[in-house]
């Protein structure tokens, strides 16, 4: 009888200790976490001022710019038509039902683009032209969310223009060839000849 009692006592003690430690460890871990985040928030101060746009010039096809090299000697023709003699290599599929070249290229000043309200625009600022239709994308692009930025996450960034990635005449991305699929895990086997064996031997 006495032994039975002893057994019970021991067992319940043991359980109690386990439960206690578990409980303690769970609760303590949570406290720690929330403190850590709070501290971080307090500590935050902006360390670097983000520098302004560093944009690459727009990508032109070789020898095509300035446009006035040719267009200066030509009579402007604002009639919508299919181009046959020049620029027939351009596939235009960018709302082509409703728009054509001179909706974006200025008819008089050929080296400029034009906004819908007629305002002229340098080619370097083409993003503003894109932005008049794609407002949301433009907004995202300005803060670096649409498109791509490289460089420093907290400092100098390198921007890409809309036209660096999207061909303005056919903006939809072309399909890409993907990099090779990962090796199947079944095929990962012991390498008999390590790639860096040469340097291994040098070591000795």
């Amino acid at each position: 009888m006495k032994d039975n009692f002893l057994f019970k006592l021991k067992f319940s003690n043991f359980l109690f200790i386990i439960v206690f430690i578990l409980f303690y460890s769970c609760s303590s871990s949570k406290e720690e976490d929330s403190h850590a985040i709070k501290d971080e928030l307090v500590e935050f101060k902006k360390t670097k001022i983000v520098e302004e746009y560093a944009v690459d010039p727009p990508p032109f096809t070789d020898g095509i710019f300035p446009c006035n090299d040719c267009h200066a000697y030509q009579e402007p023709n604002s009639k919508r038509r299919e181009l046959v003699e020049w620029h027939d290599d351009i596939t235009f599929s960018h709302d082509s039902d409703n728009r054509w070249c001179l909706d974006c290229h200025d008819v008089i000043e050929r080296d400029s683009l034009r906004l819908a309200n007629g305002k002229k625009l340098d080619f370097k600022e083409s993003y503003k032209l894109c932005g008049q239709c794609h407002g949301e994308k433009y907004r995202d692009w300005k803060v670096g969310v649409h498109g791509k930025r490289t460089g420093e996450w907290n400092g100098k960034k390198h921007y890409l223009l809309c036209v660096s990635c999207h061909n303005p005449h056919t903006p939809k991305f072309k399909k890409l060839k993907p990099d090779p699929a990962p090796m199947k895990q079944e095929d990962i086997k012991l390498v008999t000849k390590p790639v860096n064996k040469v340097s291994d031997e040098d070591k000795k």
């Binding site: 032994d3 002893l6 057994f7 021991k10 067992f11 043991f14 359980l15 386990i18 430690i21 578990l22 303690y24 460890s25 871990s29 895990q185 079944e186 990962i188 086997k189 012991l190």
Partner: protein
């Protein structure tokens, strides 16, 4: 001085025996060496020689570890019924139960050691010299309880044998305390091992509250199965006396735990299959395979069928009280649980993996060899210790038989 004598005496006993004894030792030694060659390859080339990969990052080794923890736990648990039902030779039951526990714990720790990538860095997870992640990591807990359990059981066994060897009365208070402590510890090591898996929400197959109870229930089938057979052998070849009734009671207790195990599993089945969430995939992989990946189906059904047959053999009084069918049942349940823990528990936890990909795992030759090595060493140890225990307890082998050179 006395302890020296004990050690020398032990060595003497170990290397005395008949033809069959040495044949058995030779067999185990050959298997150990054969297995060690495999483990050597693993040490030199890395775990790439196993078939574990990123998707199935734990497998056969950890399965064996889990199984052996169950054996270690159950072996000691038999002390309770022995005590309650007055089976008589309680001291002997304690000794053999704890011997088995000691060997099982050693083997299970060995399986962890062969599983890790840098065995020499094992000290990193120890307290004081390393940085043990206690109490957060369940693996740290597991190591802690297994080690404590090992110490307790080893102390009891060595103390009992040492006292008997010196023909002295053993320290009753100490032994009683340690034996009583080892019982909740036995529940503890198994529960903690179950929690090792249970603690991972990333693996829905294990993240069920029933995992630990099922663990315990299945362990109480496999552990006693070994002792059931061992006791019969001891009774036949030594002066060990145990009544038939006691053996049948063990079998009866095993039926209860099998029933509890089946019930828990059924509850788990119901929950998974009736609700049919995506968690069902792991059970599907286990029982039916997914697509063409049916490699594990054979194992799971083999385990289920063996388990059910054993259950029926133990359930029907007629077959339970017949030693032929009883032993068949014991062997069947042992292997059923072995497969269940070794393959059916670990592999579906990882298949499909966390990103839904299926990598079909089968143990590689190196894994099998290494496992054979660990088991052979464990059996060798168990053989030696049993031999020693038999000699001291039943054959009155004592310090008088050992002469020390002056």
């Amino acid at each position: 001085m006395n302890f020296n004598r004990f050690l020398i005496g032990s060595l003497k006993i170990i290397f005395q025996g008949g033809k069959y004894y040495f044949a058995w030792l030779l067999l185990l030694t050959i298997l150990t060496v054969w297995g060690a060659i495999g483990y050597y390859d693993q040490l030199t080339d890395g775990l790439i020689t196993t078939n574990m990969r990123d998707s199935v990052s734990w497998a056969f080794y950890i399965g064996n570890f889990t199984f052996l923890v169950g054996v270690a736990a159950a072996a000691v648990m038999l002390v309770i019924p022995a005590y309650i039902y007055h089976w008589g030779p309680i001291k002997e039951i304690v000794i053999f139960g704890e011997l088995l526990a000691v060997c099982a714990v050693i083997m299970s720790i060995a399986f962890v050691v062969v599983d890790i990538g840098h065995p020499l860095r094992f000290w990193h997870m120890l307290p004081f010299i390393g940085t043990m992640n206690f109490p957060y990591s369940i693996l740290a807990w597991d190591f802690f309880v297994l080690f404590a359990y090992f110490i307790i059981n080893a102390t009891v066994v060595i103390h009992l044998l040492y006292s008997a060897f010196n023909k002295k009365e053993y320290n009753k208070k100490l032994v009683l305390f340690l034996v009583l402590a080892s019982i909740p510890m036995a529940v503890g090591i198994h529960t903690v091992t179950a929690f090792l898996f249970n603690a991972l929400p990333a693996r829905p197959f294990w993240n069920s509250a029933l995992l630990a109870p099922r663990f315990l229930a299945s362990a109480f089938c496999s552990g006693p199965a070994i002792l059931l057979i061992l006791f019969q052998l001891l009774r036949k070849y030594t002066k060990f006396e145990i009544k038939n009734e006691a053996l049948f009671t063990i079998a009866e207790l095993m039926v209860y735990s099998m029933f509890i195990y089946l019930f828990f599993t059924l509850a788990e089945f119901f929950k998974e299959f009736y609700s049919g969430t995506e968690h069902i995939l792991y059970w599907k992989y286990l029982l039916f395979g997914i697509g063409d990946n049916k490699e594990i189906v054979f194992y799971s059904w083999a385990s289920i069928i063996m388990g059910v047959i054993a259950f029926l053999l133990f359930l029907i009084p007629k077959t339970r009280k017949n030693f032929v069918t009883l032993n068949i049942g014991a062997v069947l349940i042992y292997f059923s649980v072995y497969i269940e823990k070794g393959m059916a528990l670990i592999i579906p936890g990882f298949t499909p993996d966390v990103l839904g990909q299926i990598y079909v795992y089968k143990p590689s030759m190196v894994e099998i060899k290494t496992a054979v090595m660990v088991f052979s060493i464990g059996f060798l140890l168990f053989t030696f210790l049993t031999k020693l225990a038999i000699a001291i307890i039943f054959e009155g082998y004592s310090y008088e038989n050992v002469k020390l050179k002056k």
